[in-house]
């Protein structure tokens, strides 16, 4: 085996690292627009899924244009704020320590027959990483019209089931206010829930921590909208 001088080793490693860095930076820059587009389409798909409309990657944009007729941002006091709702980073907003500074997006959809549904984003922690979703309400801003959840790395077959329809369906028709003013959110309970219970759904067996994280996510995300909901319900 050849013997290499120290100078050669330093030069070799420096050149190699610079070449690799350039290559990767170039690839990242070139692919960024495609990746951003994918993320945007996915967000639109998720919003549409929360109003029970299944969109593919191809038709998500046109369906979004068709159904989401209005979107705006409010604060915890329910006051309107001049901002584009779609570009709000929910994760960054929820971590702001001053609650008044948080921008809270609301998407209004007009469904077939002129029926309105109000979509708000959710964000929280699962077992292994972040979980998020969108939840939509009827015009009383109390009854859930649809819900969609997603996650980064929950256990497949267990916590990851929050993505599946069988878990999301039971949320439909649940209510977040008790006696119309007391905020109770929707609980995710272990071991069977009476379907008549308006404020709880069944948890996932074997996915307790994700289920509880989801419950906390719904509670902490929706409580921000409490004032807005109480002021604007019809």
């Amino acid at each position: 085996m050849k013997n290499f001088s120290n100078t050669y080793i330093y030069t070799f490693s420096s050149v190699m690292v610079i070449v690799v860095a350039l290559l990767l930076a170039l690839a990242a820059l070139q692919l960024k627009p495609f990746q951003d587009k994918n993320i945007e389409i996915e967000k639109k798909q998720n919003i549409l899924a929360s109003i029970n409309i299944v969109a593919t990657t191809e038709n998500a944009e046109s369906l979004y244009e068709k159904y989401i007729t209005e979107s705006f941002v409010v604060n915890v006091n329910g006051e309107l704020i001049e901002k584009d709702a779609f570009s709000v980073d929910v994760r960054a907003e929820l971590s702001k320590s001053n609650k008044l500074d948080r921008l809270l997006p609301v998407y209004v959809s007009t469904l077939e027959g002129g029926k309105k549904a109000y979509v708000v984003p959710l964000r929280g922690k699962g077992l292994w990483g972040p979980i998020w979703g969108y939840i939509s309400f009827e015009k009383d801003l109390n009854t859930i019209y649809g819900a969609n959840f997603d996650h980064q790395g929950e256990t497949p077959g267990l916590g990851a089931e929050i993505k599946e329809a069988w878990f999301q369906k039971p949320f439909i028709g649940k209510q977040i206010f008790k006696d119309s003013t007391q905020f109770v959110s929707v609980k995710v309970n272990k071991g069977g829930v009476d379907p008549k219970n308006l404020h709880a759904v069944d948890a996932i067996s074997g996915g307790t921590i994700t289920s509880k994280g989801l419950e906390a996510m719904i509670d902490s995300s929706l409580i921000q909208y409490k004032t807005y909901f109480l002021m604007n319900r019809k």
């Binding site: 085996m1 690292v17 690839a27 692919l31 990746q35 993320i39 497949p156």
Partner: protein, 207 residues
């Protein structure tokens, strides 16, 4: 392809299988095999990375100072893995989401470093490339067998489609929840090793 190269490609499927004989890459075999589809994509990604890192390292082998060879190999593997990850994110976004962190973890897959050290550092580019392809495919094969077994018995489906007839469930059949847990993957690997060894006596160590 000459018979020598063909042999390079085929031995990793049986007598030199990276997972069942060399017992490398076990952790990803446990992690991504709950469902069949991620197992297939993971197998493909590892095959591509093994083949191309073998090729590149083999081209560079005379210029790599031995004292820093491990670092050089790591940089090449890491660069390839990041490229694969970025491309998956740009063009097959849903698959890349399913694999999540495991694509990044290909970097730590022992098979890749193992092949670079054992083969690409001392052989010509084309045989190295074939060797990488063979080892990646040998790994993919095991992942697919495990993924198939676990998804079929654990979720009653294959590639997301339900295959176990409803009549079975009505007759009292249940999906095996244990199959979803990583330990069952280890047991399936053990069963594969058992079958393979009982068919190939040359794999059994003399006492």
């Amino acid at each position: 392809m000459s018979s020598k190269n063909l042999k390079l490609f085929t031995t990793p499927f049986n007598l030199q299988n990276p997972v069942t004989v060399q017992v490398l890459g076990i952790c990803s075999a446990l992690a991504v095999t709950v469902k069949l589809k991620p197992a297939i994509v993971m197998g493909l990604s590892v095959t591509i990375v093994t083949a191309f890192s073998n090729l590149i390292i083999s081209y560079m082998r005379d210029y790599i100072p031995p004292r820093i060879r491990i670092i050089v190999q790591l940089v090449v593997v890491a660069a390839l893995v990041i490229l694969v990850d970025q491309i998956l994110r740009a063009f097959v976004y849903d698959v890349s989401k399913q694999l999540s962190v495991y694509v990044g973890l290909i970097i730590t897959n022992c098979i890749i470093m193992g092949r670079l050290e054992a083969y690409a550092m001392g052989n010509k580019p084309w045989p190295s490339f074939v060797d990488g392809l063979g080892n990646g495919a040998g790994y993919a094969m095991i992942l697919i067998i495990i993924g198939f077994t676990r998804e079929l018995l654990g979720s009653g489906s294959l590639l997301g489609h339900h295959v176990v007839p409803n009549a079975f469930f009505q007759a009292g059949y249940m999906n095996n929840g244990m199959m979803i847990m990583p330990p069952m993957a280890l047991i399936v690997v053990g069963l594969i090793i058992w079958i393979q060894r009982s068919k190939n006596p040359e794999l059994i160590e003399s006492k």
